[in-house]
């Protein structure tokens, strides 16, 4: 059972502005029968002002409520004002929507955009209007729930999310319209690979490389009567000295360099180059 606010209930029980507008100046549509949600929005526009708005919705309680409140929000607004209405404002106006239902507000926003674009004969991408362009981690990835890039990265690096579903469970991102799926999957690829490679200062880096050589690499080499010693770390150049059997054999040296380098790249930094002292 969903926790719907009183306002949501009012609007789906007695929706306002249901129906068609004959000779509407703008008509917008969003959703489809097959998806279980469809909204048709009709606008009457005079002198750049929306004088009437009506809707028809195929959808659940919150879809009807979002459509109904959207028509109320629109009447009396100028086109410029209407352009700026976000899905979050629609949800807020209803006193909030359950996380899984935020896509209903997105549908409202989409139908509005479609209607205004048809009216203005405008093909430009309006997504820029919704987001302040920013390249930082506070950039919003999931617009349905307002989940930032940082929150998604945290779910991957701190809570161990490994799949899109994991991220969804932890943050709600992608739970509604799912359009951010690709962005989230890219973040997973990026951060799962690097989650062990936190940014290290030079000293931390040397300690980490030394530990890996002692605990991971050396035990492997010992099986073949070989050995390795860390001599120096200079940026991403790791200088090592080979001992025992390994040091005598040119072929072994190559294999060894590859093995050590692969391990360190995997565990510390992609840029590492192993050099023999």
């Amino acid at each position: 059972m969903w926790e719907y606010t009183q306002k949501v209930k009012e609007h789906f029980k007695n929706p306002k502005n249901v129906g068609e507008i004959e000779n509407a100046d703008a008509i917008g549509e969003a959703g489809a029968l097959s998806c279980g949600d469809k909204l048709k929005l009709y606008l009457k526009i005079e002198n750049n002002v929306i004088t009437d708005a009506k809707f028809q919705t195929f959808g659940c309680g919150s879809a009807v409520a979002a459509s109904s409140i959207l028509t109320e929000m629109l009447i009396g607004k100028t086109i410029e004002e209407a352009k700026k209405i976000t899905n979050k404002q629609i949800a807020d106006e209803l006193g909030g929507l359950p996380p899984e239902k935020m896509h209903c507000s997105v549908m409202g926003r989409e139908a509005l955009e479609d209607a205004l674009k048809n009216y203005l004969q405008d093909d430009e991408d309006w997504t820029e209007l919704e987001i302040e362009p920013q390249e930082t981690n506070s950039q919003i990835i999931c617009h349905c729930f307002g989940i930032t890039k940082q929150e998604i990265i945290d779910s991957i690096t701190k809570n161990g999310a490994k799949t899109f579903d994991d991220v969804s469970k932890l943050t709600s991102a992608g739970l509604a319209c799912g359009r951010c799926r690709e962005l989230i999957e890219n973040l997973i690829k990026e951060y799962i690979k690097t989650d062990k490679k936190e940014v290290l200062n030079p000293v931390q880096k040397i300690i980490k490389i030394n530990n890996i050589i002692e605990n991971v690499i050396e035990p492997e080499l010992k099986k073949d009567m070989g050995g390795i010693e860390l001599v120096n770390v200079d940026g991403n150049n790791v200088y090592v000295r080979l001992k025992g059997h390994c040091s005598a054999c040119q072929n072994a040296k190559l294999t060894l360099k590859n093995f050590v380098e692969t391990k360190l790249k995997e565990l510390v930094d992609d840029e590492i180059v192993v050099l023999e002292e």
């Binding site: 029968l33 097959s34 048709k40 959808g59 659940c60 309680g61 239902k101």
Partner: protein
């Protein structure tokens, strides 16, 4: 008036069941495994319940009955327990199983098992020949539900068991009987079904108690290890009160089976016919007569299910929906999709499920209100042209 038409979700506890179980929540609290007299009272009550369930299911004897905490536990125990005892890694099941079964197979697939999910036709019926053709030497388990929770479609599990065993007698048969218990006759001793699961709260026992029937001679690895309870097949101090409730509910379900098959069915048919006759955009999902007597699933075209439920709720009519919007998942019912229900009514499908407590007056009340609720919602739909064509 409140009209509860969601008995496939859960049922009201029968008064007699409640009365019989409460003694074991109060005075008879001893651990049934203990050595003193009060414990003997509990142990005896459990064995009586075991016999009642065995009688209800037509089992060989009461030692085939294992008490669990729910239907999902019974299903998990059977499936995982069977597979742990064999090296074979292939399972045959259907696309319309309950999630408590389907998600077990999905999880096993990640661990190296392979599963064949059989489809159904538009009435929800299964092609047995096709099922048999999927058997391979690697097949360990065939798992088919007895009746579907959403549509009530009945699957010929006895015949399936017989035919599968003809091909390979080592293949185990697990039947999820949760939606059949109390609604269909079953005589497990006359079948070749190896494992059969039921859940108490679907037939007037409380939530939190289930049963797994295991035909003699079937080995399985217990899901819950621990003490020696339930013949060391299901550890954990026995829940005497709920087991007693399960026994009483089983006894009553057996006694009321005829009533379910006649009176409940008559009321279900009345509701179904009344809706289909009076609501022009209503279509029956699963037209088959081979359905549990208490269930009907009706799709209302061009409107959405959650909204129907919310409007019905305001009138005190309680039903449920295979609609995506009610469940928390965004996908509509996997059962209705498997039987290729058209998109026009897929999202507007409502399941009405009755019980022996449903009265004629309640059905009349529902029939009085459902057409006007649908009419009201239809007015909001953007598909006016299509609805008009249907006569709405």
């Amino acid at each position: 008036m409140n009209v509860y038409l969601d008995n496939n979700a859960t049922t009201k506890i029968d008064d007699i069941v409640f009365e019989e179980m409460t003694a074991f929540l109060k005075e008879n609290y001893a651990n049934p495994s203990s050595m003193y007299d009060p414990a003997r009272v509990c142990a005896n009550a459990i064995e009586k319940a075991r016999q009642e369930v065995a009688d209800f299911l037509g089992a060989e004897d009461k030692n085939t009955i294992i008490f669990t905490s729910c239907g999902s536990e019974s299903a998990n125990t059977a499936i995982k327990g069977i597979l742990e005892k064999t090296d074979k890694k292939h399972i045959i099941t259907t696309q319309v199983e309950h999630p408590c079964v389907l998600s077990v197979y999905e999880s096993l697939e990640k661990k190296g098992y392979s599963a064949t999910y059989l489809g159904v036709d538009e009435n929800g019926e299964l092609d047995i020949e096709k099922l048999l053709s999927k058997i391979t030497p690697e097949t360990a388990l065939v798992s088919v539900m007895h009746a579907n929770n959403e549509t009530g479609a009945i699957y010929p599990v006895e015949e399936i068991a017989r035919e599968v065993k003809k091909i390979d007698n080592n293949i185990k048969i697990f039947v999820d009987g949760v939606q059949a218990a109390g609604k269909l006759p079953i005589n497990l001793k006359d079948t070749l079904i190896d494992f059969y699961s039921i859940s108490g709260h679907k037939f007037h026992a409380p939530k939190g108690v289930g049963v797994l029937y295991v035909k003699k001679g079937n080995l399985f690895e217990p899901l819950i290890h621990g003490g020696h309870q339930e013949g060391s097949l299901r550890a954990g101090t026995q829940n005497t009160a709920y087991i007693v409730a399960m026994g009483a509910a089983a006894r009553l379900a057996k006694a009321n089976l005829d009533y379910e098959l006649t009176h409940v069915k008559r009321l279900r048919d009345k509701l179904e016919k009344g809706i289909l006759d009076n609501v022009k955009n209503a279509r029956l999902n699963s037209k088959s007569q081979n359905r549990t007597p208490n269930t009907t699933n009706i799709g209302f075209e061009y409107i959405e299910g959650e909204l129907i439920l919310l409007y019905l709720n305001d009138l005190g009519i309680f039903a449920s929906s295979g609609s995506a919007c009610t469940s928390g998942s965004l996908d509509p019912s996997h059962v209705l999709r498997a039987q290729k229900t058209p998109f026009t009514s897929l999202h507007g499908s409502i399941r009405f499920s009755l019980s022996r407590y449903t009265t004629e007056a309640e059905i009349d009340y529902a029939l009085e209100h459902i057409p006007s609720v649908i009419k009201k919602i239809v007015q909001i739909s953007p598909f006016q042209k299509e609805l008009k064509a249907l006569g709405m």
